[in-house]
């Protein structure tokens, strides 16, 4: 079904999944029915904070939202609600992977999601560096295209990650 599975790395991945599936932690997660739904719910709540915060920053970036406060100030308000929930997302994600290794790690949709998450983190880091640039936050006198492009890329990434996350179950 997946031609890349003949590659050595794929066999290593397969062995890793088999090993992980056999660990005590994985068995506990698989046997206790409440763990996965609970962890998924926490995952949803965490990314709700992330995507809403990203939206607020991106709306300010495009000059739609809270124009009376500087971009730097808005970022200071909302960036912590991207970074801290991201730790929760990694932790809950790890639990879900440990509980069902093959379903996650060998799934191409999951692999795409990981790449998208890395891209989103990079974009957020770049933004973190640029936020103090006064030109960026000024919708009337600053550049028009750059902020809009950054905001659009950011929102497309976060929305795509959520789509990929849901689609894991269907792939």
């Amino acid at each position: 079904m997946y031609p890349h599975l003949t590659l050595p790395i794929a066999r290593t991945l397969n062995d890793f999944c088999v090993w992980l599936d056999g660990t005590a932690l994985s068995q506990v997660i698989q046997s206790q029915a409440w763990i996965v739904p609970t962890v998924q719910s926490i995952h949803i709540l965490a990314f709700a904070l992330v995507v809403a915060s990203a939206l607020m920053i991106n709306l300010r970036l495009t000059g739609i939202f809270a124009r009376d406060q500087s971009l730097d100030r808005i970022s200071a308000r909302f960036l912590p609600f991207i970074w801290w929930p991201m730790l929760v997302l990694l932790a809950t994600g790890a639990i879900m992977i440990i509980g069902e290794p093959a379903r996650a790690l060998k799934n191409p949709v999951f692999q795409v999601k990981v790449l998208l998450v890395i891209a989103a983190v990079i974009v957020t880091c770049i933004f973190q560096r640029m936020r103090r640039n006064p030109a960026l936050g000024d919708p009337t006198h600053g550049p028009r295209a750059a902020p809009r492009v950054i905001a659009a890329i950011s929102m497309v990434l976060w929305v795509s990650i959520i789509f990929a996350g849901r689609w894991i179950a269907y792939a």
Binding site: P37, Q40, I44, A48, A52, S53, R77, I162, A169
Partner: protein, 182 residues
């Protein structure tokens, strides 16, 4: 599984006690558009994904407001102003979530309608709406007065806490629906 037994019983009861509702649900899920959603491999996942994005924005934006009411975040923004800025996006996202949810519901109406967790989810949303209405009618009336104060009044804190608790419940129940479908 207890949930299966309950659902089966509920189905029988509903068919007996509310034949009109049951009949309408069966009619709904038999319509061409509902059938297409149920049977198409990609359509349901797509609608579901739209629903998840929308609810993430609903809960995230509500959390921004609730954390402000609790005095835990966005303290540099007057409460009334923040609420006015954020809530339009909450409503827009809620509209999208409701439409996507309605489409999913239609595709399998009887299964969802008789699902304990789905019913619970609707109830919790109703309570969340009630909580919001009570806030707007009472504490929220003079938000201009306390919106920039050091601390928010007890009524605001209560509304924020109740709102967060109810919406966390909505997510938990909503997720559980997927695990209890038959």
């Amino acid at each position: 599984m207890p949930a299966a037994g309950q659902t089966a019983m509920a189905l029988e009861l509903m068919a007996l006690e509310a034949p009109a509702l049951d009949g309408w649900l069966r009619w709904l899920q038999a319509t061409p558009f509902a059938t297409v959603i149920a049977e198409n491999d990609n359509l349901f996942p797509f609608i579901e994904s739209v629903h998840v994005v929308a609810i993430a924005l609903v809960i995230g934006t509500i959390a921004i407001v609730d954390l402000r009411l609790l005095g835990l975040a966005s303290r540099d923004r007057a409460a009334g102003r923040l609420i006015g800025e954020v809530l339009p996006y909450t409503w827009a996202a809620f509209g999208v979530a409701a439409i996507a949810g309605g489409l999913m519901f239609a595709s399998n109406a009887t299964t969802y309608a008789y699902n304990f967790y789905f019913q619970g989810k609707l109830l919790l949303m109703g309570l969340a709406g009630l909580n919001m209405a009570i806030f707007h009618l009472f504490t929220g009336r003079d938000v201009a007065r306390w919106g920039t104060a050091e601390r928010t009044p007890l009524g605001a804190k209560a509304a924020g806490a109740v709102s967060l608790a109810l919406w966390i419940g909505v997510v938990a129940f909503g997720r559980k629906v997927g695990f209890t479908l038959h």
